[in-house]
């Protein structure tokens, strides 16, 4: 009996691989991809709700503005034209008149107004408010609406069917810099309340979901995949693909193996994976991540010596950041002179803090600081910057510092622990990244201590002066040229005063099978959004 059972099991095991698999039918254009690798796959398909996921959002919805193809500028998407009054407090936007939702209804300014009122409702149930605030907090009446004191966001008004107006509470010459995540929802098709935003199945139900992007939901298996089918009314033309299937991979290794096995045709990849891929079969896309990686000092909790500029300069000279970027980080990162990761704004007078351990020792001696006085630095690492490559880079930094007598120990924390430790000031230095896009840079929370839950450097005013005034100048710079020039000046100030210790900015990578034609991808922070022209993608047999 047992023998028969064993034989039966073996035969079954051998037969199973031969079972038919339902893949693309003849002539059907189907593209399998891993567009969003890593945790968070579920909520990533819901605009405004999460810190990333724009690469999926823009497949189904249309924002007012988008990043350009390499995240260096902002461009209108469903906005046709826009203008402001003289003091940049009132902005008038004209929508394209050829934008339709997937059910054939036209997208109008009334949908823009509906979305603004809906997303700022006091009971809106989102995972965090960052993206809602980014889009709407600068608009007059936001606080009243959010606190339930107003029935609408009064600063957003419909002028006519295709024209709407923003009235801002403070001037902003580059208001569009905060409108890339302003997706417009169909007033006629939203059948749930703001309080049900996260819990409704509307987002994934093919019978309910309506969007104005190139695709709509065709099928959805939570944490497995989302299948998109064409929106025949898409304003840039009906997509060539019959189906776009984005598989969810909780782990990059799994995604890379699926890519290598030919089950998906695109995935994010780490730089160390690229050499393992067949160079004839895959095209590698890469670009600036615009995420600055740096050490910040908790001045309130660290030895007072860190308030001496010469000690911070010694830190910079002691570490060979270029060698780490070239060797440890395998050439995938560039050295930063300041936290602004945009080379085009740099001035000529920046100190590159080239590796000079003797200079580091001299500076410490000049400051009258014995490295042992600094104790052992308690470093904490944000989990987003603790991948194997980054860990190696941190260890190399640790070794360089030890060479001039500065000791440091690293703690790797998960996200809740990181934030708790950060707020409790229970560390000396933090190692983390900061998204720093050219528009909407983290000026207020980084440089002014005026709020935000970002990286306001605790006790930063021990180290730096003049930043608040510079931030104000940047925010009010009327033209793009003046704006970038002021950003350059900010970088220069940082470079001189070193309130924090800038390290690197990384490249990000994606690998696409050459079967995909007319494919474009850029590793934009949070996925963009940018116009990837997904309506043009197709798969060559």
């Amino acid at each position: 009996m047992i023998k028969r059972l064993v034989v039966l099991l073996i035969v079954l095991a051998m037969l199973v691989p031969a079972l038919p698999v339902a893949l693309a039918q003849d002539g059907e254009q189907v593209l399998y991809v891993g567009l969003d690798v890593g945790p968070g796959g579920y909520n990533n398909s819901m605009p405004y709700n999460y810190g990333a996921g724009h690469t999926m959002h823009i497949k189904m919805y249309t924002p007012l503005f988008v990043w350009n193809a390499d995240s260096t500028d902002m461009e209108p998407f469903i906005v046709e034209s826009y203008e402001s009054n003289d003091d940049f407090t009132v902005w008038t936007f004209k929508l394209r008149e050829d934008v339709y939702f997937s059910d054939g209804e036209q997208l109008t300014a009334h949908d823009v107004k509906f979305t603004a009122d809906f997303m700022t409702a006091p009971d809106i149930n989102v995972e965090n408010f960052n993206h809602v605030n980014e889009a709407y907090a600068q608009i007059e009446g936001f606080d009243a609406r959010r606190n339930g004191e107003a029935d609408e966001l009064v600063g957003v008004q419909v002028i006519d069917d295709f024209t709407f107006q923003y009235t801002l509470s403070t001037p902003n010459p580059r208001v569009y810099g905060r409108m890339y995540g302003t997706y417009v929802f169909p007033e006629h098709a939203i059948d749930f309340e703001p309080a049900d935003y996260q819990t409704t199945d509307w987002w994934y139900n093919p019978d309910k979901q309506v969007g104005s992007g190139p695709f709509v939901v065709g099928d959805y298996r939570r944490d497995e995949y989302i299948e998109l089918v064409p929106n025949e009314y898409y304003f840039k033309g009906k997509p060539k693909l019959d189906r776009l299937v984005s598989r969810y991979f909780p782990d990059e290794t799994a995604a890379v193996l699926a890519l290598a096995a030919g089950e998906i045709d695109f995935s994010y990849v780490s730089p160390d994976v690229i050499p393992t891929l067949d160079q004839d079969k895959f095209t590698i896309f890469s670009g600036n991540s615009y995420v600055s990686i740096f050490f910040h000092v908790d001045y309130s909790n660290s030895p007072e010596a860190w308030q001496d500029l010469r000690v911070r300069q010694a830190f910079m000279y002691a570490v060979d950041r270029q060698a780490i970027a070239d060797i440890v980080l395998e050439g995938t990162h560039s050295v930063l002179p300041c936290l602004v990761p945009i080379e085009s704004v740099y001035t000529d007078d920046l100190n590159d803090y080239a590796y000079d351990p003797d200079m580091a020792r001299e500076l410490l001696a000049e400051a009258g600081v014995d490295p042992s006085d600094l104790g052992t630095i308690d470093w904490i690492t944000h989990p987003g910057y603790a991948n194997p490559l980054m860990r190696d880079a941190v260890q190399a930094t640790q070794a360089y510092l030890a060479d001039v007598g500065i000791q440091a120990e690293m703690r790797y924390l998960d996200l809740p622990t990181w934030r708790t430790t950060y707020l409790a000031e229970g560390y000396h230095m933090g190692f983390r990244g900061q998204a720093y896009p050219i528009f909407s840079p983290p000026l207020t929370n980084l440089y002014t201590n005026a709020g935000g839950q970002g990286g306001d450097i605790i006790g930063w005013d021990w180290a730096a002066t003049g930043f608040e005034a510079k931030v104000s100048e940047i925010q009010l710079a009327p033209t793009f040229e003046e704006y970038t020039a002021k950003l350059g000046e900010l970088c220069q100030m940082e470079n001189e005063q070193l309130p924090w210790l800038p390290m690197w900015v990384g490249q990000r990578y994606g690998a696409a099978n050459n079967r995909i034609q007319d494919f474009y991808w850029y590793p934009a922070g949070g996925g963009g959004p940018y116009d990837d022209h997904a309506e043009l993608w197709y798969v060559e047999d």
């Binding site: 579920y42 290794t253 996200l415």
Partner: protein, 321 residues
């Protein structure tokens, strides 16, 4: 027997209560909460303190520890496990959905572990110091010592990437029609990978137990009586040797619902292991509590089942009412 089972069940109620209190306390001690999980400083420049307070109120985290625990217990008494903050779904629905995926995976692995492990254990136990004994025992060392994240990646690389025999992860063909064949096709590789360790462990226990039993006097007696070797080996030796193996196999029953974090992650399998891991990472205490409750019930149940199985296998074991 019935009275014994009833008594054991009643004892388990305060044990379960204690388990929930301990787990709730541990979550409380752990640094941070789900709101901290939502707020990543590198991307949250527009989030304000008022927003965070709003989130804390919505999730009930502004309440004291004992109030939250009391509320959780109160809802549990009404059969409500609460709502996941991270997944935005009812905890009972989440657990059922993930368990539906975990049971076939872990069940298949467990079954393979029992069938192949015990069979091979008997096989090599009867052939001590043979080539089979040395080679299979050596392989079992390998099976036991290779961690799941290595065997998982190796399995995927060899059988999916290189040979193309099996899919590279997933529980079904994405965007395709669901069918039993398709589900089995996706199940084989992760289940077999998981089973490697079970087979190796069960084989070693069974081999050791067989060798011990085969040296007992009653086996010598059975042989001296002229019983056929097959009868001696399988009716007398194997049945007695199964006793310690049953304990091991029985105690591994909770694994059926616990899932396997690494294998689920590598094979993109939406199971209990990944659910639990994500819940812990996000301090999603309703899910952590719900899953732990299920685990605790399973462990207590498995212990009871193991005791009952003893009496079935060994007539000397009897429970008094």
């Amino acid at each position: 027997m019935g009275g014994y089972i009833l008594r054991r069940l009643l004892i388990n109620i305060p044990v379960l209560f204690l388990v929930t209190f301990l787990v709730f306390s541990l979550i409380e001690i752990a640094p941070g909460d789900v709101v901290d999980y939502f707020i990543s400083p590198d991307m949250m420049q527009y989030t304000t303190e008022e927003d965070i307070q709003r989130l804390r109120e919505r999730t009930g985290l502004d309440q004291p520890f004992l109030v939250r625990y009391g509320k959780w217990l109160g809802r549990l008494a009404q059969g409500d496990l609460g709502y996941s903050f991270v997944e935005s779904q009812r905890v009972d629905e989440l657990i059922v959905a993930h368990m539906k995926n975990t049971l076939p995976l872990m069940g298949a692995a467990w079954l393979m572990g029992v069938v192949f492990g015990i069979s091979l254990g008997v096989f090599v136990g009867l052939r001590q110091y043979s080539v089979w004994d040395f080679s299979l025992t050596g392989l079992s060392f390998l099976g036991l010592s290779v961690p799941a994240f290595i065997s998982g990646i190796l399995g995927l690389y060899i059988f999916s990437v290189r040979l193309g025999w099996f899919p590279a992860g997933g529980m079904r063909t994405a965007g395709g029609d669901s069918s039993l064949g398709d589900a089995l096709y996706h199940l084989v590789l992760p289940a077999a990978t998981l089973a490697v360790m079970d087979i190796a462990r069960n084989m070693r226990y069974m081999r050791f137990a067989m060798l011990e039993v085969l040296n007992q006097d009653y086996i010598t007696t059975a042989r001296a009586k002229g019983l056929r070797p097959r009868l001696v080996h399988y009716r007398h030796a194997m049945r007695n040797a199964l006793l310690p193996v049953i304990t091991i196999v029985g105690l591994s029953l909770p694994q059926l619902v616990a899932g396997a974090v690494f294998i689920e992650t590598i094979y993109s399998w939406r199971g209990m292991g990944s659910l639990y891991l994500n819940a812990v990472s996000g301090r999603d205490y309703p899910v952590i509590m719900g899953v732990n409750l299920v685990f605790a019930v399973m462990v207590l149940g498995a212990n009871l089942l193991t005791d009952i199985a003893y009496s079935a296998v060994d007539p000397r074991v009897r429970f008094e009412d």
